[in-house]
Amino acid sequence: MSLDEEYTAYVSGRLTWLRRIAYPLCQDWHRADDLVQTAITRLYVKWRQARVADDLDAYVRVILVRVFLAEQRGGWFSRVRPTPTLPQSSFEGNDRDTAMDLHRALTAVPPRQRVTLVLRFHCDLSVEQTARALGCSTGTVKSQTARGLATLRSILGAQDAHLAHKEEC
């Protein structure tokens, strides 16, 4: 199997997984696709080194996270692309409101904290693994996690209270 075939086989099998990580980071499937596309392009450039990595999945995940963080630093105009259609929502009925609340709450969490939360709770990484992926100390991971969760709680909690108040009226 040639290197390209090996790469294609690996990436094809991991696309869904990568999109599931990218989506909580940006809350937009189109942007998630862009992130994944950029990440797998970078992976191809480094494929010779990456294929012999101890944990290839972790390697790719780090690329994806770095692509996301680098894009965040690039400015709003580089992240927003006008599209003729509205973003597709995969939630139905009552779930749609909940999903919108979740999206709004996650969007309010700063990118670095959001990445920490995604790695910790979505990818189920330990504090040490998250620290390695982000290239920071475990103390930083803990503080970022705490702050991110506090932000989420404050927003979701406020919305719950707001909704409760409306229902009472």
Binding site: R20, P24, D33, V45, S90, L102, R120, F121, H122, G157
Partner: protein
Amino acid sequence: MDAEHLFDRLAHQEQPPTSVDVRRAIVSGGAIRRRRRAGAAASALAACTAVMVTWLVLPQSGQRDGVAVAVPTGTPVTSTTPSGPSAEAAAEPTDAGFEKLKKKYPPLGKIASMPEIPIWMWLGRWSAASSEGPVLCSARDGGGATCAGFPPLGAKEFARTQGRTTGPLNEQQVRALHPDATARQLRELIEEQQRQNTLGRIFFGIARTEVHGITAVTTDGREVPASIARDAGAGLGVWAVRLPVGVTTESLIVTDAGGKTLQRIRGG
């Protein structure tokens, strides 16, 4: 609020059709790889250029102009007469750069004078306290001087190219390398480069003492003998060859006293 539950909800969403294209990633990634390779080649070229530029030291006030040096007319490429080794200090360059480097890296042997190139070369000592190997120094009258360390010759190596001159730099490149130079100095530097360039391209390097001849074979089949100064110090000799403008070397043939080929250096 349970964070894991929150993210689980996101994870179990149904994914819309993806627009990610693996083939596109391969094409884009391949283009990036090619650009990086080209960038690395450009860096190597810049390093060669830097070697050339170190020769072009700024003219010092009160010194004679480099143009005044007696430079023989270009040796015909078809010449078969080897330029004889002349490991002796003849009229030395008068550049301040040459004197400075000679003092900083004192010659281990004699300074090899090769007026037919024209170039002066010697193997210098790093410093009295240093255990480092020798450095190869070269100087051209009016063209500055340079010294650089080099790894020892390998078991199967009899000679090696350690430096070569490149084409002239444009005004912008010269300005970038000499930001403090005045307009007049820049003009002089550029003129000096153009003058040096008309003399052709010079390759120079080191050789073992058993090497008696080095011949540059050009891509069009012509042979240009190099000048060699054997035993310039540290058990090594030095050599240099000048090729006319526009001529490219295919290889350098290294031979012993009997004319037997010891080594062939591809590309020079």
